[in-house]
C-alpha cells in the first residue's frame, strides 16, 4: 500500500527525507520494521499512530540522534549514517525530542535556554537577541523570560522547546509530539505560529508527530504508522477518500488492521443516577503562594461522590498545584480542603489508601519492569497478597500493557508510560481518583478505552474522579467542569450549560471565549499569546537582521559553540551556589582536618609493665621509658592473662616483662632478658615503637655502663650526623599539607565534571550533543572550562591556607607551581569525564569517582609512602596517575625551593597527561545514541 502511495506522489516534488528499509531493534524488540518513506520538502508532515509504533524511534534516526542499525536514511541530500554528512547537515536541522522539555536545562531561565541554542548554532549577539525577542513574543513566553525552565508548566516547556528548535532557522524541523500537554488555546496559537513561520519561510519542512487527531487535518501530508510499519501516507483528503470516512480519527481507526479495530468502540456515557449528595472532595478558599507569586487564588469547589469532575485551564494556571494540595503533597498557604469529609492531612495514611493519584510528570520507577511497578504499588496499598497477581494481570490487560509487561518504563513511549501511571493509580481500587492530565500523549483509541474505564468506575462503583485535561472531547464527558485561569476558577458547571452560556456549539470555543474575557480584564499572567495574533507573520528572523548562519569550516574548533557549553555550566554553578561553596569551603575544611589530623609523628604510645622484679633497678629501667616523650605509661600489669587481655583490646601498644631477679642478675653481670611485646596490628606504628624501644634500651645500657665504677667513658666508633633536609623539624605538616593540595585538587574537580556529563545523560539534555553542530571536544572543553577556573580558585585558596594557617613556606617558584596546578586540574577534570564515559547513572558516577580517585590519590601517589616503594599494580598506577607527579612538584616547590628547571620531568608527565586523558574522553564519548 505504501509503495503505491509513494508512486502516486506527484513527480518533480523535492524530497527532504528518504527512508529506505529501515529497521530498529531495542534488544529483542523490533521497533521499526523495514520502513520506507519519502517525505516531501516544504510541507508540514504529520506522523500519526498509536503509542509505541515507532514514531519517536523514526524521528531520532532521521535527526541523527540514534545510530542507524539497518537500512538507509537520506536527509537533505546525504546519508545520515555518514558522520561527515551529519556534521554538515545538523546546522540545517532542528530536533525537539519527546517529553516535556527533555533537552532543556532546568536551572537555566527561559531566555538563557534559547540563548544557549543560539550560541551553539553560531549566531552573533545582536542577531541572537533579536531572534530571542521575536520567538518569545511569538510564543507568549516573554513575561516568563527569566523563569527557570524547570519551574515552567508542561505546556510552557513545550513552547520553550519549540523556541530552542526554531532559533537557527532550520530547513528541517523535527518535532516529536510538540503539542502534547499544551492547552487548547496555546495549541491553537502554536499552529498559528507554525503557519506564520511557514509563510515567512516557505522552504522549511516540518516533520511532526501528534496525539491530537483534530490537529491531523492541519497537516499538508500525513503518515500513519502502526506496529513499526507504515499504514498509509498522503494528504488528509486522500486518506479520507481512501478510508471512506468523514473524520481523520475515524479514518485512522479504519486504517488499522482488523484485530486492532475490533478492540475499539465509541465511548458510552450513561447518565448519572442515584446521586446521594455525599461530598467527596471539598475545597474552600484554597490558596497557594510561592513567594509573591499566587499560584492558586481562593479556589472553592465541591465534588460529589461518583462525580466526574473536569479541571480545565491554560498551562501554568494552577491546576497541578491545586491537585497537589488536595493530595497533601503541598500544604495550602490558606484555605482548606476535605476528602471524604476529613481535612487533608499529609500524615493521614488511611485517606491515602482510598485515593489514587497520577501526577503529570512520570513518577514511577524506571528501573523496575511494568509488572514489578504494578506489583509494588499493589503491595504498598495493601492489596491482599493472594489477589496481587490477578490484579496486576487484570490492570495490564485493561490498559493494553500485557505486551510490555516485562519491559522497563524508560524503554516505553510516552503513551504507554501514561497508561502505566494510570494503571498504578487504579490498582488498589481507590474510591477517588485524582488524575493530572492522565491522557496527554496517549493515542485516541487508548484514550477512549481509558475514559470508558473511568466512566464505568464512576457510574458503577461510585468512584469520584477529579481529572484535568486539555482534550475538549474528554471534557465533554465530565459531569461538571471548572475552568481555571491565573490561579482562579473562572466558571464551573455542566459542559452543555457552559456552551449554552457562551452561545457556541463546541467547548473549545467556549473555553477560549472565557479565557479571552478573563485576559481582557487585565490578566496577562497566562502563557497565552493572544496579543500575538496582531503581530506580523513571523519569519523566523527579524528583517533587520539577516540570517547569516555560517557553519564554521570543517575540522576546526568553534569557540562560540565551546563557550556556549561553558556558559551553561557556569550558569548552572551560579544557580546552584551550594555546589561551588561546597567545593571551595569544603576543600578548605578538609585541608584543616587532614592537615592537622594526620601526623606521622608517632608519640604518646601507650605501654605497661609486668614487673616481676620490683626493685629499684627495674623501676629505673621503666622510668627510662616512661620519661621519654614517646611513651605514656599505663597501670602496671599483674599477670600474663592481663597482659594478653590488655594487648588484645588495643589498649597497649607495648608491653614489657621484667623477669624476677633482674636486679640481682644485672649486678652479677649474668645475662638477663627483658621481654617486649609490640602490637603488630598496625605495622607502621609497630616499627616505630620497635625503633624507639631499641634506642631507649641502648641508651639505658650505655648509662648503666658509664655508672659502673671503673668503666671507660663510652664513646662510639664514629658519629652519624643526620640532616633532615627540607623539613628540619621533621614536621608532618610540611609533608602532608602540600600533598593534601594535590589530593583535594583531584577529588573535587573530578567529582564535579563526572556528574556534569552523567547528569546530562540522565536528564536527557545529552541529546543536544547528538543533534547540534557541537563537536565532542567542544562539548567537553566547554563543560570543563568553568570547573578548571573553579579548581584554580580552589588551588589559590589552598595554597594561601598552607602558607598562612599552616605556616608551610612556599620556597620555590610560584609560577612553576601554578603552571603545574593548571595542567593538573585539567587532568583532574578530564578524569571526571573519563569516569562519566562508562557510567550511566549519577549514583554510579559518584561511586565511581570516589573509588577511582580516592584510593589512587591517597595511597598510590606518594602522600604517605613514596611511589618508588610501592609494590605490584599499585606501583604502576602510582607512576601513571597525575597526582603523583603533581605531588612531587608541590613538595618540591613548597619545601625544596625548586624552580621550573628542577621539576621538568614531572611537568612533562603532567603535560602529556592532558592530551592522553582528553583524547580518551573524546574517543569514549558517543556522538550518537547507540
Amino acid at each position: 500500500m505504501m509503495d503505491d502511495q509513494v508512486r502516486e506522489r506527484p513527480l518533480g516534488e523535492e524530497t527532504v527525507v528518504r527512508v529506505s528499509d529501515v529497521s530498529l531493534r531495542y534488544g529483542t524488540r523490533l521497533a521499526l520494521d523495514a520502513v520506507s518513506l519519502d517525505v516531501p520538502a516544504g510541507k508540514i508532515v504529520g506522523l500519526i499512530g498509536p503509542d509505541g509504533v515507532g514514531k519517536s524511534s523514526l524521528f531520532s534516526l532521521i535527526s541523527g540522534a540514534r545510530v542507524i542499525q539497518q537500512g538507509r536514511i537520506e536527509v537533505l541530500g546525504g546519508n545520515m549514517a555518514d558522520a561527515r554528512h551529519r556534521r554538515e547537515v545538523c546546522p540545517r536541522l532542528a530536533y525537539m525530542p519527546q517529553g516535556l522539555g527533555k533537552n532543556l536545562y532546568p536551572t537555566l531561565s527561559v531566555v538563557e535556554n534559547i540563548d544557549f541554542f543560539g550560541r551553539l548554532f553560531g549566531h552573533h549577539e545582536v542577531e541572537r537577541r533579536q531572534r530571542i525577542a521575536d520567538l518569545l513574543d511569538a510564543t507568549g513566553l516573554a513575561p516568563f523570560r527569566d523563569r527557570p525552565a524547570g519551574k515552567l508548566s508542561g505546556g510552557m516547556k513545550q513552547k520553550l522547546g519549540l523556541c530552542c528548535a526554531l532559533i537557527h532557522d532550520p530547513d528541517l524541523l523535527i518535532l516529536d509530539e510538540p503539542t502534547t500537554g499544551v492547552d487548547p488555546l496555546s495549541r491553537r496559537q502554536f499552529w498559528e505560529l507554525v503557519q506564520r513561520i511557514r509563510s515567512g519561510r516557505p522552504g522549511m519542512s516540518v516533520l511532526m508527530s501528534t496525539a491530537y487527531m483534530e490537529e491531523a487535518a492541519r497537516f499538508d501530508w500525513l503518515v500513519a504508522m502502526h506496529a513499526g510499519r507504515l499504514l498509509a501516507a498522503g494528504s488528509p483528503r486522500e486518506l479520507l477518500e481512501r478510508s471512506g470516512t468523514k473524520s481523520l480519527e475515524e479514518a485512522f481507526v479504519a486504517l488499522l488492521p482488523e484485530e486492532e479495530r475490533r478492540g475499539h468502540r465509541s465511548v458510552v456515557l450513561p447518565a448519572r443516577i442515584g446521586e446521594d449528595g455525599t461530598v467527596a472532595i471539598e475545597a474552600r478558599d484554597l490558596t497557594m503562594r510561592f513567594g509573591d507569586f499566587v499560584a492558586v487564588d481562593h479556589v472553592t469547589f465541591r465534588i460529589e461522590r461518583g462525580e466526574i469532575f473536569g479541571f480545565l485551564g491554560s498551562n501554568g494556571c494552577g491546576k497541578t498545584t491545586t491537585m497537589k494540595m488536595l493530595t497533601g503533597l503541598l500544604p495550602a498557604s490558606e484555605g482548606q480542603a476535605w476528602l471524604f469529609g476529613q481535612a487533608v492531612d499529609s500524615k493521614d495514611l488511611a485517606t491515602r489508601r482510598r485515593v489514587g493519584y497520577m501526577s503529570q510528570a512520570f513518577s514511577l520507577y524506571s528501573e523496575l519492569t511494568v509488572r514489578q511497578n504494578l506489583a509494588l504499588h499493589a503491595e504498598l496499598f495493601h492489596v491482599p497478597a493472594t489477589e496481587i497477581g490477578a490484579r496486576v494481570e487484570a490492570m495490564a490487560g485493561r490498559f493494553g500493557l500485557t505486551g510490555v509487561i516485562d519491559a522497563r518504563p524508560d524503554a516505553l513511549p510516552l503513551g504507554l508510560r501514561q497508561r502505566l501511571s494510570l494503571a498504578v493509580a487504579m490498582i488498589h481500587r481507590p474510591e477517588m481518583l485524582i488524575l493530572d492530565e492522565p491522557t496527554s500523549g496517549v493515542d485516541p483509541v487508548a484514550r477512549d478505552a481509558f475514559w470508558q474505564i473511568m466512566i464505568d468506575l464512576a457510574r458503577q462503583d461510585k468512584v469520584t474522579i477529579f481529572v484535568s485535561t486539555h482534550f475538549m472531547n474528554e471534557a465533554m464527558r465530565c459531569d461538571r467542569i471548572s475552568l481555571m485561569h491565573a490561579g482562579k476558577v473562572l466558571v464551573s458547571g455542566e459542559p452543555a450549560t457552559l456552551m449554552a452560556e457562551r452561545g457556541v456549539d463546541n467547548l473549545d470555543d467556549a473555553f477560549i471565549g472565557y479565557l479571552e474575557d478573563a485576559m481582557a480584564g487585565g490578566e496577562t499572567r497566562s502563557a497565552s499569546l493572544l496579543e500575538s495574533r496582531a503581530t506580523p507573520p513571523f519569519t523566523g528572523v527579524s528583517p533587520s537582521v539577516p540570517a547569516v548562519v555560517t557553519p564554521p569550516p570543517r575540522g576546526r574548533m568553534d569557540l562560540r559553540r565551546l563557550l556556549s557549553y561553558t556558559r551553561v555550566e557556569a550558569l548552572g554553578l551560579r544557580r546552584d551556589p551550594i555546589r561551588a561553596t561546597l567545593a571551595l569551603l569544603g576543600s578548605l575544611l578538609l585541608m584543616f582536618v587532614v592537615g592537622y589530623g594526620i601526623s606521622m609523628d608517632v608519640d604518646d604510645l601507650t605501654f605497661a609493665v609486668l614487673d616481676r622484679d620490683q626493685t629499684s633497678a627495674s623501676h629505673d629501667y621503666v622510668m627510662n621509658l616512661a620519661g621519654s616523650r614517646y611513651f605514656v605509661e599505663h597501670a602496671p600489669i599483674a599477670d600474663h592473662t592481663e597482659l594478653d587481655r590488655r594487648m588484645r583490646s588495643g589498649e597497649l601498644s607495648l608491653a614489657l616483662e621484667i623477669p624476677p631477679g633482674f636486679a640481682r642478675d644485672l649486678g652479677r653481670g649474668s645475662r638477663v632478658e627483658i621481654g617486649a611485646w609490640v602490637d603488630g596490628a598496625m605495622p607502621q606504628r609497630a616499627e616505630t615503637v620497635q625503633g624507639y624501644v631499641r634506642g631507649i634500651h641502648a641508651h639505658w645500657l650505655a648509662d648503666v655502663a658509664s655508672r659502673r665504677p671503673g668503666s671507660p667513658p663510652s664513646a662510639g666508633l664514629m658519629q652519624i650526623e643526620t640532616r633532615f633536609r627540607y623539613n628540619p623539624d621533621v614536621k608532618s605538616v610540611v609533608s602532608i599539607v602540600p600533598g593534601n593540595i594535590a589530593i583535594l585538587l583531584m577529588l573535587i574537580p573530578s567529582m564535579l565534571t563526572a556528574l556534569s556529563v552523567v547528569r546530562d545523560k540522565e536528564m536527557g539534555s545529552i541529546v543536544n550533543l547528538y543533534v547540534t553542530p557541537v563537536t565532542r571536544l567542544e562539548f567537553l572543553l566547554g563543560k570543563q572550562l568553568p570547573y578548571i577556573l573553579l579548581a584554580m580558585l580552589n588551588f589559590m585558596l589552598l595554597t594561601l591556607l598552607a602558607v598562612t594557617a599552616f605556616k608551610v613556606p612556599l620556597t620555590g617558584s610560584v609560577f612553576t607551581l601554578s603552571l603545574a596546578a593548571l595542567l593538573y586540574v585539567i587532568s583532574a577534570t578530564a578524569m571526571g569525564f573519563l569516569i562519566s564515559a562508562f557510567t550511566r547513572s549519577q549514583i554510579a558516577a559518584v561511586f565511581g569517582t570516589a573509588v577511582l580517585t580516592i584510593l589512587p590519590a591517597t595511597q598510590f601517589s606518594g602522600l604517605i609512602d613514596p611511589v618508588s616503594s610501592l609494590e605490584g599494580l599499585g606501583a604502576v598506577i602510582g607512576r601513571l596517575y597525575p597526582t603523583a607527579h603533581f605531588l612531587t612538584i608541590c613538595r618540591g616547590t613548597f619545601s625544596k625551593a625548586l624552580g621550573f628547571a628542577d621539576v621538568q620531568s614531572a611537568l612533562l608527565a603532567l603535560v602529556l597527561a592532558v592530551p592522553v586523558l582528553m583524547g580518551l574522553c573524546v574517543a569514549l564519548l558517543k556522538k550518537q545514541e547507540a
Binding site: 569544603g586 583490646s649 632478658e673 605495622p683 633532615f724 547513572s841 609512602d865 609494590e871
Partner: protein, 373 residues
C-alpha cells in the same frame, strides 16, 4: 510501621541496584581488585627505600658499608659523585643520601671518631623516620663488626627480646587489606543509601511515595536494610575470599562477631547517608558532600595513621564518628582475636552513634520529605 512495606520497598531498591550494571561492576571492583591492589601496593614499613651513596673514601670499609644496603628494605644504592647529591634529592630520586668522607676508614681505626653524614628527605615522612633508624643501626653494626677485627668488644649485659604480636612479621599487606575493606564499607554504604534517596527526589518518584500509605520511617528503613545487606555481603566476600583466601591473612577472632560489628557500623553509616541526602538538593551536591565527609572519616579514624598521634581535639571529635569504633573493633577482632568481652565498648558506642544518627536522619527526613516534591 508495616514490615511488608519495608520489605517490598527494600526489594525495589535491590532490583534497581541489579539493573545498574556499571554500578555493580564498580562495587565488585572495589571489593576485589581495589582491595587486592591497595593491600599489596603497601610496602612493608621500609620497602625499596631509594638511597644514594657518595663514597669519597673508597676504602674496604666504605665499600662494605655500601654493600650493606640491599632489597627489600632498600633499593640497590646509587653510587653518585658529591655534586649529584643535591640535585638528586631535589628531584626526589632518593630519600636518603649517605656521604662517607675521605679517609673515613683510617680515621675510624685510629679512633678519631669520624663523622658520616646522612641526608634525609624529610618531606617523605614515613620513610624518613623509620629509614634513618634502620640506616643508623646498619651502619653501627657494620662498623662495629669491622672494628671488632681490630678491637675487642663485649656483649651487652641485658638483652631486649623484642617481639611483635598479632602480626609477627609486620606484614603491611594484612593491615592494608582490612583497612581498605573498612574504607570501602563506609564509602559504599554512604553512596548507596544517600544516592537512592536523592534519585527518588530527582526522578520525582518521591511524589508517588508520598501519596501512598507509606511513612517516612518505612521509606528510610527500606533504604537502610537492602543497602546495608549489599555492603555486608560485599564485605564478607572480600574478607573471606580476598583477604583470607588470596592474601593469606590469618584471621584471629570470630568472623561472626566481626560481621555483627559491621552490621552495627552499617546501621550508623547508612543513616548518615540518608542524612546527607536530606541536606543535598541534587546528586552533584551529594557527591561533593560525600567527599567532604568521607575523607575525614577515612583519614582520621585510626585506619590511616594511629589515633594517638593525632591532636587531642581531633581524637575527641572523631569519637563521634562510627568509623573510629569500627576500625578499632575490626583491628581488635581480626588481628588480635579479641572477643566480645574486649570489644563491647566499641559495640555500645556504635549502637549509640547508630541510634543517634538514625534518629537525627529520620527527624530530618520527616521535616524535609514534603519539600522534596
Amino acid at each position: 510501621m508495616r514490615v511488608a512495606n519495608i520489605l517490598q520497598l527494600g526489594i525495589k531498591e535491590l532490583r534497581s541496584l541489579a539493573r545498574d550494571s556499571r554500578l555493580l561492576i564498580l562495587i565488585v571492583y572495589s571489593f576485589t581488585v581495589a582491595i587486592y591492589v591497595g593491600a599489596t601496593a603497601m610496602p612493608s614499613t621500609l620497602n625499596k627505600a631509594p638511597i644514594a651513596i657518595v663514597d669519597e673514601d673508597q676504602s674496604p670499609l666504605s665499600l662494605r658499608l655500601a654493600g650493606s644496603f640491599y632489597p627489600p628494605h632498600f633499593l640497590a644504592p646509587a653510587l653518585i659523585p658529591h655534586a649529584a647529591m643535591d640535585e638528586g634529592m631535589d628531584a626526589g630520586l632518593f630519600t636518603f643520601a649517605l656521604n662517607i668522607p675521605p679517609e673515613f676508614q683510617r680515621d675510624l681505626l685510629a679512633g678519631r671518631v669520624p663523622t658520616i653524614q646522612l641526608n634525609v628527605d624529610a618531606t617523605r615522612m614515613s620513610q624518613a623516620f623509620i629509614g634513618s633508624g634502620y640506616i643508623q643501626t646498619i651502619l653501627n653494626d657494620e662498623v662495629k663488626a669491622f672494628a671488632l677485627r681490630y678491637r675487642a668488644g663485649t656483649a651487652p649485659p641485658v638483652d631486649l627480646a623484642l617481639r611483635a604480636r598479632f602480626n609477627p612479621s609486620l606484614t603491611q599487606t594484612w593491615f592494608g587489606a582490612v583497612m581498605q575493606i573498612i574504607n570501602n564499607v563506609t564509602m559504599l554504604s554512604l553512596v548507596l543509601t544517600g544516592a537512592a534517596l536523592i534519585r527518588e527526589r530527582e526522578r520525582g518518584t518521591i511524589e508517588h511515595l508520598l501519596v501512598m500509605p507509606v511513612t517516612p520511617l518505612e521509606i528510610m528503613l527500606s533504604k537502610v536494610w537492602p543497602m546495608g545487606l549489599v555492603v555486608l555481603a560485599a564485605c564478607a566476600f572480600a574478607l573471606l575470599f580476598i583477604v583470607e583466601g588470596l592474601l593469606k591473612m590469618p584471621i584471629e577472632g570470630s568472623l561472626a562477631l566481626f560481621f555483627a560489628g559491621t552490621a552495627l557500623h552499617l546501621f550508623a553509616s547508612t543513616s548518615l547517608g540518608i542524612f546527607l541526602a536530606t541536606v543535598a538538593r541534587s546528586m552533584p551536591q551529594f557527591g561533593l558532600l560525600l567527599v567532604l565527609v568521607l575523607l575525614p572519616l577515612q583519614m582520621l579514624s585510626g585506619g590511616a595513621t594511629p589515633r594517638e598521634s593525632m591532636p587531642e581535639f581531633v581524637q575527641t571529635v572523631m569519637l563521634a564518628a562510627p568509623t573510629t569504633h569500627f576500625v578499632s573493633l575490626s583491628q581488635a577482632i581480626l588481628y588480635r582475636g579479641a572477643g566480645l568481652e574486649v570489644v563491647w565498648p566499641q559495640f555500645i558506642s556504635l549502637a549509640a552513634i547508630g541510634a543517634t544518627f538514625f534518629g537525627v536522619a529520620l527527624a530530618r527526613l520527616r521535616k524535609t520529605i514534603g519539600l522534596m516534591v
